[in-house]
Symmetry: C2
Subunit: 321 residues, 2 copies
Amino acid sequence: MDLPKYKDIVQAHERIRPYIHKTPVLTSKSINEITGCELFFKCENFQKVGAFKFRGACNSVFRPRLKELSRGVATHSSGNHAAALALAAKMRGIPSYIVMPENAPEIKINAVLNYGGKITFCKPTNEAREKELEKIIEKTGALLVHPYNNFNVIAGQGTSAKELMEEISSLDTIIAPVGGGGLLSGTCLAGHGMDPEINIYGAEPKGAADAQLSLKTGKIEPSINPVTIADGLLTSLGSLTFQIIKTHISEILTVKESSIVDAMKMAWERMKIVIEPSAAVSLAAIIENKNVFRNSRTGIILSGGNISMENASGFIIKRPG
Amino acid sequence: MDLPKYKDIVQAHERIRPYIHKTPVLTSKSINEITGCELFFKCENFQKVGAFKFRGACNSVFRPRLKELSRGVATHSSGNHAAALALAAKMRGIPSYIVMPENAPEIKINAVLNYGGKITFCKPTNEAREKELEKIIEKTGALLVHPYNNFNVIAGQGTSAKELMEEISSLDTIIAPVGGGGLLSGTCLAGHGMDPEINIYGAEPKGAADAQLSLKTGKIEPSINPVTIADGLLTSLGSLTFQIIKTHISEILTVKESSIVDAMKMAWERMKIVIEPSAAVSLAAIIENKNVFRNSRTGIILSGGNISMENASGFIIKRPG
């Protein structure tokens, strides 16, 4: 298995630097007081398309030579990866083909169309998605860019932790959410590439704890009927991401839904920033495990900010247990 | 009348620099496309206590010599100025006395208590506030720090525009919301102190358009029964702020309530930041007056971010006309 290494993240960073935002690192004295540690928030909610996904998508469309890409790129996604790939492809001047479930939110569909992505709708099942994507790749000759189990995508996602550690010296710990594992595995490679002694944690909802289970059983466990408001963390690990994560990770921490909401609200009230539930999971893990992080300098990757005000307030008012 | 000048803002900035946040300047490509101009958002929602008010409060408690302040500072406020003055006084190591209406929101009361402010509650009328404040000053010998009609407060508020113009060169225009006029008059002094040709606009809700009226009639018009969700902009101008504003301002633009909500939502969705209605008024003015700002480089002071998620979503869902 050809796994990316730290040097691939360094190269990815050089490559995508002109296209991405160098996102700011924010701190909050009052959240530090609440959690008992010193937190450095890497704000990928301010990244283009509102999520870290743009880093991996960018590396995927700018790394291959143009002639390998002349027929475009293709993926299936109902979320941030779709918009990210469409925008990256537009910047490279190549077509993008996105398979989306017919019940995808209008706001996500419009984002993809806005960036010139060509959408094919399918029934909202994994099987229908993959079949449709296969057909499109056969027809167009487009290059498949998997949302997370992809060498270039992982290397691209790792550039966020690299930027964070370049800006903030001597972190003890770094934490990122885990769904398919693209962000967390990139964070592992960057983290240990820059500091072999840094502790790296993953965070996921208790209602979608397949990554924690996979580390326990030693094989990729499927994500079966996940139940969580963190809609970016529903998928299971891939062969590449599992391999990297199990080598590097200290532990995967799981959190309650109510903690995710509390963390979203804390970011709103104390930092005046909008983070999506998947991004709030890392902060929730710190709040639920204060003893693990006490007195540490901890970097926390806020993965994205794509949530409507209506949905956010719905979560706050219901506050799922 | 002893009015502050640009040099007073320069001195204020030197004085308060160790205590304030140098807030970031954000941009948004998609909002630029919508408005047809290039906007630079000065994010005072990220300032300490969540609003620009901390700048003026800080200058007020750090400018006088300690012996003039040994009996503390006092003010009446139900909003951001109360928390700002309490925190600034705590940093200087002097007591602060805050008169608050008995119906002030618990979150604001707790903020003041948190910073060690001594609260006296009063009936929620202007008369009761002022009478109570007089009594306290008489009893304690504390120095009155008016929320906006105060030399040191105005000079402090001007440091936000100064920072913005130091970071972003050759702005054509700068815009700030106007309530009592502390922020706008400080912005006037900083703006024309650094660039005599810059255009300076104020923005206020149509439901609280006393500043626009005051410029028209040439005297301070009281704010009578203002109706707006922008709860930071309910007060009328003071003698100092009126004098400065009328000398420097190009125009005061007024906006509909629905535009304020749209602007708040735009900041949430496109920038992933939380701004309070009073801060959204400036962006709303640009959206309602695209012809005035077209193709300009415009600095926009986002005054604060103190709004609960519940209130924000209530505004969005109701969307007052």
